[in-house]
């Protein structure tokens, strides 16, 4: 029983690492640019497919990750420039627009890559089981994912809390009007933050596709998790994305293990209770 | 002795590091015309928000006609007779002028919950709303959309909304802001003709209007009351002059 619980903890944390990669971009996009991008899940999907193609072509997982990330940076830029820019801060329009974009990306992906679940090949040194202290066997890849997620998390945190750019970004999250008054080139800042969010999304598709596989519909399933992370953690907060991802990852793992038929309920009920008590989430701004 | 319409006891409001209102105590008698003046950032609008219930004070007590309303919500205070206008016109731009005033009229009655009859079924609403618009000279434009209104007319509509909630106390936040001199005169005249069973507190920057309408004046500076008295007393006070002309 204890072994089972430990396994679920690792499951939860490794899933949390993936969720953090995806949710951090989503929450920053809202925090800085006040944009709700419901195509973020589709970015994950497309990044995964492109990364898969890159891995097949090059034989390198790292190339796949970078390719997936860059593909979404490019597409994300075009979407921002030609579509999202036109709706400004109208959240309703943003949601509808990006849902439409997600429909297009999802459907086109279906027609290019078909309906089967595809797995991104994992590098051989990460393939297979790993023996943990205490004799537990666990997939090496998912353990590596935890470290990768933590690594990216630390990088992002350093960027956010310890650099000048991060200070500017935080100022933008706190008070968007003041940001333009400081003389910073807001347009360029937005492009940078958006590119970062896009890269994270595309990359997470490759990383996730290596153990969850990629399939039509994955874009909505993963997006829902990211939404719960962001609702619990608080829109716009990087720390919130970290804490939220851990909570969601662990709830999901234990929910599936203990109450498989109600796992979604186990996931969402705490979110609903939190909403009653604190609608802006753990680290979100009051409204 | 009649209870004061408004009594504030040591009202303070803190926003993070900023103490916007600092231990303000004041009393406004029933039917009085009180004007609140002070330089920008003195905390006048924040004080209004505490009185009307838009904001909860960090500490202190608000009493309306002797009853402690500090814990009551904004809409509850309106039901008890508090009406207010906003510094920036807060009217319903997508609705017609008539609908705006109808909303003001319905705010404190149970009619607002009716789902099974149309508004037109209640002719008294329409006629009272038209009267309300007439008082501010906007009756002719009753069915126009607010979007078509000039700024001056919107300020008039703003007044009409507050007046039609059946207020016993009116908080007017810079009713003349942004208006032309003739428009200011119009508003000032309307305010001066309001019946004495309504208590008035006004924030106003236009000294002539403020001092002409006021029974007494309270001067706020950096969240604190520095002077209170009749218009003449306040005008003559050197501290007030310092605050306004920069000898702080």
């Amino acid at each position: 029983m204890l072994n089972g619980a430990i396994l679920q903890v690792i499951n939860g944390i490794s899933f949390a690492a993936l969720l953090f990669l995806l949710a951090s971009g989503f929450t920053l996009t809202f925090g800085v640019m006040r944009v709700v991008n419901m195509a973020h899940g589709a970015y994950y999907l497309l990044g995964g497919y492109v990364g898969l193609a890159a891995v097949r072509a090059s034989g390198s997982f790292a190339v796949g990750i970078v390719a997936g990330g860059i593909a979404i940076v490019l597409i994300g830029f075009l979407i921002d420039r030609f579509l999202l820019r036109r709706v400004g801060e109208n959240h309703l329009a943003q949601v509808l627009l990006t849902v439409g974009i997600a429909f297009v990306i999802g459907d086109l992906s279906l027609h290019i890559w078909g309906g089967d679940s595809l797995k991104v090949p994992v590098p051989s040194y990460l393939n297979g089981p790993f023996e943990l202290p205490g004799g537990l066997i666990y997939p090496a890849y998912r353990l590596a994912l935890i470290f990768f997620g933590a690594f990216i998390g630390v990088l992002l945190w350093l960027l956010y809390r310890r650099t000048q750019i991060g200070a500017v970004i935080r100022a933008g999250v706190d008070d968007p009007e003041q940001l333009s008054a400081t003389g910073i080139n807001v347009g360029r800042l937005f492009i940078m933050v958006s590119a970062l969010a896009s890269f994270l999304a595309g990359m997470s598709g490759v990383v996730g596709g290596a153990f969850l596989t990629i399939y039509p519909g994955a874009e909505w399933e993963i997006l829902v998790y990211a939404l719960v992370v962001v609702i619990i953690g608080g829109l716009g907060s990087l720390e919130g994305a970290m804490v939220g991802a851990l909570i969601v990852g662990l709830l999901d793992a234990f929910g599936r293990w203990l109450l498989p038929e109600f796992s979604y309920f186990v996931l969402f009920a705490p979110m609903a209770i939190l909403l009653l008590v604190r609608p802006q989430g753990l680290f979100g701004k009051e409204f | 002795m009649k209870l004061p319409a408004i009594e504030l006891e040591l009202i303070s409001k803190q926003f993070g590091g900023l103490l916007a209102v600092d231990a303000v105590s004041l009393m406004v008698a029933n039917g009085e015309r009180r004007v609140l003046i002070g330089p920008n950032g003195a905390g006048k609008t924040t004080l209004f928000h505490c009185i009307s219930g838009t904001l909860q004070p960090s500490s202190g007590c608000v009493k309306l006609f002797g009853d402690d309303v500090t814990k009551l919500t904004e809409n509850r205070r309106t039901e008890l007779g508090m009406g207010r206008t906003f510094q920036i016109s807060n009217v319903f731009t997508e609705l017609s002028l008539l609908e705006n005033v109808v909303l003001a009229l319905m705010g404190t009655v149970s009619r607002k919950w009716t789902v099974h009859r149309s508004v037109g079924h209640y002719p008294e609403l329409r006629s009272r709303a038209l009267d309300g618009l007439d008082r501010v000279g906007l009756k002719a434009r009753a069915d126009d959309s607010v979007n078509d209104l000039s700024y001056g007319d919107r300020r008039q509509l703003e007044m009409a909304l507050a007046l039609n909630t059946n207020p016993k106390i009116l908080l007017l936040d810079e009713p003349c802001a942004g208006l032309s001199p003739s428009e200011r005169q119009g508003i000032a005249k309307m305010i001066s003709t309001l019946p004495r069973d309504i208590t008035l507190i006004m924030i106003e920057h236009d000294m002539d209007i403020a001092l002409a309408l006021a029974d007494s004046v309270t001067v706020l500076h950096r969240g604190k009351i520095i002077v209170e008295g009749s218009p003449a007393e306040v005008q003559a006070n050197s501290e007030v002059r310092d605050v306004y002309f920069g000898n702080i």
Binding site: H91, G100, L235, Y264, F268 | T78, L95, G107, Y122
Partner: protein, 311 residues
Amino acid sequence: MSRTGILFALFVLTFAILLPSLAGPFWIGLVTQILIFGLLALSVDLLLGQTGLFSLCHAAFFAISAYTVAILQVRYGLPTILAAPAGLLAGTLLSVVFGVSVRTRGVYFILITIALGYIVWGVLLRWSSFTGGDNGVTNVPFPSVGVASISTQTEYYYFVLAMISVCTLAYRVFINSPFALVLRGIKGSETRMRSLGYRTGAHLYVAFVISGLVASLAGVLYVYYNRFVNPAAASFPNSVEATLMAIVGGSGTILGPLIGSGVILGLRNWVSGFFELYATLIGIVFIVTVLWAPQGILGLFNHLQIRRRSS
């Protein structure tokens, strides 16, 4: 509603009444669908058009009422006279619970309704021992109440047409009511409404539950039409499509949701015959509508009318 609007509605109604004698089962089925999903779209627009709240969980109420009816009739053999009201009640009760989301506004409200909708979808999918999981519930009979029973598609079509006509008239009364005016006031400026004495949260909550009731009604009508229900009925794309219908037709209007339903479902049925990328097309309709025609068909029509009158 203007005179043109009433004439248009009468024209469409006449055509709808004559439809079964003009066209075959495919068209009867399609128009039944259009009417039912038009009602779902109406429930969404009751919130969106009147209060400004954008709810993406209405497919959940739709699905729960459909499933309740299906399970009660198929598995427990209950008659329509019990199953249908029970379905309506179940969906409405869910909206009473989900109504807590009204404590939030703007983007938070949107996100929370998305997540709530997913709870229902997920439970319907994963609790397969009770709901049938992916396979859903099949063999739902036509409704019958005592002597009055429906046995053909055409009879059900007329029943649905009658229900939707009644609902449309009721919606017209609702939109013109004091309560709806209050909702539009809240949509315009919630702060102003509070200072005028309104308990805005309470009004929004009641509006949410009323819209949940309407969505539940659509669900009941749906399950007797489709004779089958599966988790897709509660899916996010279903909620989103309902919203799109409301917007394409013209948000805030009485007939907009129905018109939007006709456009979207008509488009789907016409296109899927020869074009595989249906979802892409719907996505493009989203994008085009949001960017270039957010006021929808009726909105554009009204705009042109105003232009014509002033020139």
